[in-house]
């Protein structure tokens, strides 16, 4: 143990003798570890944020959309229709379902005066605002009459209001054009917390019947009208599973599906959706981590390079140490500790900087709460120690294997 402390002292002396070089070498590890800590916490922040977004959609939700059965083609299946959505709210068949909100999205050009915007216009029913728990702040939302009459009325999100009515006029009562058709603005939605990713406030709502008949071609051969997807609200959280099986049996019946693997639709619960999205954002975190890991590797190679230079430069010193009785392991330990000290100190500085970076990131993007987890700190410390050992062992063993006679004669 005494030998270890002595080696540590020698290593620190060696590093102090070349302050600038030690600092620059360390910089590679510092940057690598900072990148690992900051990017991993960023990735996790995004993951947390997206999860939070999905949770804020509303409660006890199930999403139903058309999907081809395995081996089938999307073109051959019966798409979800308005009557499917109505059937889901039949209290006799679906006792666990509170509401079903069909939605039909059409990508359209929205124009007001000189301002224009290309946006996905959503055809919805009055049920939408209850399912999402999101209401109009000014004016009113779409009502049953608008649906029955396929009225040319629109409700705007706040972002759309800002870009279409940039002069500050009250949008309610104004006329805008969607795909050249005139629509009267009847309301403005309440502001949703801004995200920085998908802007929840960048929406235009119209009656679903209007979207199906006037903006898009939703009419099927059998006369029913297609919908993009249906959001279903279960009566309670406990009723979620029942609701899902009720949806499956009602739709299987309506779509003549005999076997489960012929199902031409998919029912996803909020938690399932969350896990799908989570696996994507998890991949993002891993990807960022790998990129940061590569910079750590480059830093490690820098350590090896400098240690090799140091060994060459100190050949005479190594020769002298051997002449006065240093054994192979004494020299090995001295240089190994030198490189491990470089990487560990670099790693600790990197953890500090990474922490500061994520604090700064949280301050810049308030919605993104970036936190440094114990896991990433442990990982960074372990990895930088291992890098020090791995990239230090070759230079150190080269130093330890020097022949003292040649080393003493080295110029």
């Amino acid at each position: 143990m005494a030998a270890f402390w002595e080696s540590l002292r020698l290593a620190l002396d060696g590093l102090k003798a070349n302050r600038l070089r030690s600092a620059l070498t360390m910089l590679g590890i510092v940057i690598g570890v900072t990148a690992v800590i900051a990017l991993v916490s960023f990735g996790q922040g995004v993951q947390d944020f997206i999860s939070a977004q999905f949770e804020s959609l509303g409660s006890n939700l199930l999403f139903v959309f058309s999907s081809a059965p395995s081996g089938g083609r999307l073109g051959d299946i019966k798409l979800l229709t308005m009557s499917d959505a109505e059937a889901l709210t039949n209290p006799l068949l679906a006792s666990s379902i509170l509401r079903a909100a069909p939605q039909f999205d059409v990508f359209s050009l929205v124009v007001s005066g000189r301002n224009e915007k290309t946006i996905s216009v959503s055809g919805v029913t009055p049920a939408y605002q209850h399912v999402r728990g999101w209401e109009a702040q000014f004016g009113r939302f779409i009502d049953e009459t608008d649906i029955l009459t396929s009225a040319r009325v629109a409700v705007l999100g706040t972002t759309v209001v800002r870009s279409l009515f940039s002069d500050g006029t009250d949008p309610v009562g104004q006329t805008i054009r969607i795909n050249t058709l005139p629509f009267r603005v009847i309301g403005v939605m309440a502001q949703q917390p801004s995200s920085g990713f998908a802007d929840e406030n960048e929406v235009v709502f119209v009656p679903i019947t209007t979207a199906q008949t006037r903006l898009g071609r939703a009419r099927q051969r059998d006369g029913s009208y297609q919908v993009s997807f249906i959001t279903v609200q279960a009566v309670s959280e406990a009723g979620m599973e029942n609701a899902a099986s009720e949806i499956a049996s009602i739709l299987a019946d309506r779509h003549d599906v005999e076997y489960r693997d012929e199902q031409d639709f998919t029912v996803l619960s909020q938690s399932e959706l969350l896990s799908v999205v989570g696996s994507i954002t998890g991949l993002l975190t891993v990807f960022l981590g790998v990129i940061a890991g590569i910079s750590l590797l480059v830093g490690g190679i820098g350590i090896m390079n400098i240690m090799l230079v140091t060994v060459t430069e100190r050949t005479r010193e190594i020769g002298l140490r051997k002449a006065v009785g240093a054994r192979h392991r004494d020299i090995l330990l001295q240089f190994l500790i030198e490189s491990v000290v470089l990487t560990v100190v670099g790693g600790l500085i990197g953890i500090g900087l990474g922490f500061l970076a994520s604090v700064a990131g949280s301050a810049l993007i308030p919605d993104l709460s970036l936190r440094v987890t114990g896991g990433s700190v442990a990982l960074a410390t372990t990895v930088s120690t291992v890098i020090g050992l791995f990239f230090g062992i070759y230079p150190a063993s080269r130093a330890a294997s020097l022949n003292p006679i040649d080393a003493l004669r080295y110029e």
Binding site: E317, R321, K322, V324, G325, R327, L408
Partner: protein, 282 residues
């Protein structure tokens, strides 16, 4: 485990038989060293036998290529002979491994080099402590280093860096470093070669003083006949063999005599060594 015990026993028997003079510290028996340089074999040493007793002050001389550096490396346990035996302090080390050689160098041998070989940015005290760091028993390292520096007259320079010391002072630090482990021998390779004559004389005086007053066995490797005349005994090497091994009749005291002109010096040393060839061996 470390040394060959039978070597020590044999040596003790030899001592009992001789039972004359001081103890033998270095006993080299038929040592040869062959280097393989590509296709060619170079015979650096061709069968050297010599004995050095405790308290002797010996100069090993010879022109370049005579094998004196090779001999010094073997005597200093930095290298091993191809054949022959080398007993250091009664222990055969001619077959020891790298690890054992390191321990032997640490405990038995003190080196002084021509170019001092001090560590950069390290105080004199730390320089002298260095061999003790690698010693198994580390007790009162500071005190021993301080005492060693005192014995070379540097007690007021303990915390000076090498670049704050003169050449002579630096070499004295190196001598203190060689002394601090109380080795069996001190091996000095051209210790005055990098010094001006005044500093050289000063260093020489310290070596003589340590040898006379403390009985430290000292071996100089030099090609400088004037330096050799300050020692008790001169061993001349040529082409890997000992060509002369003779006592110096009246060793000079450091500073006593001015360095003579080169010509006169050469004549003197050749008269002493070659006029009575192999006197010691008969």
């Amino acid at each position: 485990m470390l040394f060959r015990r039978n070597g020590r026993q044999k040596q003790n028997v030899a001592h009992l038989q001789e039972d004359s003079g001081p103890q033998v510290v270095i006993d080299v028996q038929g040592v040869a060293k062959t280097y393989q340089m590509g296709e060619i074999e170079v015979n650096a040493l061709r069968g050297i036998s010599l004995q050095i007793h405790r308290g002797e002050f010996v100069a090993i001389m010879g022109p370049s290529g005579s094998g004196k550096s090779t001999l010094m490396n073997i005597l200093g346990a930095l290298d091993q002979p191809t054949s022959g035996k080398y007993f250091l302090d009664g222990v055969d080390i001619s077959q020891a491994g790298d690890h054992d050689l390191a321990v032997i160098r640490n405990q038995k041998i003190g080196f002084v080099f021509q170019s001092f070989n001090l560590l950069k940015r390290t105080t004199a005290l730390r320089q002298v402590e260095l061999p003790l760091i690698y010693a198994s028993k580390a007790g009162n390292r500071h005190e021993r280093a301080r005492a060693a520096l005192e014995s070379v007259g540097l007690s007021d320079r303990l915390h000076h860096m090498p670049n704050e010391l003169s050449g002579g002072q630096q070499q004295r630090v190196a001598i203190a470093r060689a002394l601090v482990t109380e080795p069996a021998i001190i091996l000095a390779d051209e210790p005055t070669g990098n010094l001006d004559s005044k500093s050289g004389t000063e260093v020489l005086r310290i070596f003589q003083q340590l040898n006379r007053e403390r009985g430290i066995t000292t071996i100089f490797v030099t090609h400088d006949a004037f330096i050799a005349r300050h020692t008790d005994r001169v061993i001349m090497l040529r082409d890997g063999k000992i060509v002369a091994d003779k006592r110096v009749e009246s060793p000079l005291m450091a500073g006593e005599v001015e360095r003579p002109s080169e010509m006169a010096e050469l004549e003197e040393i050749f008269r002493q060594t070659y006029d009575a060839p192999r006197a010691e061996f008969t």
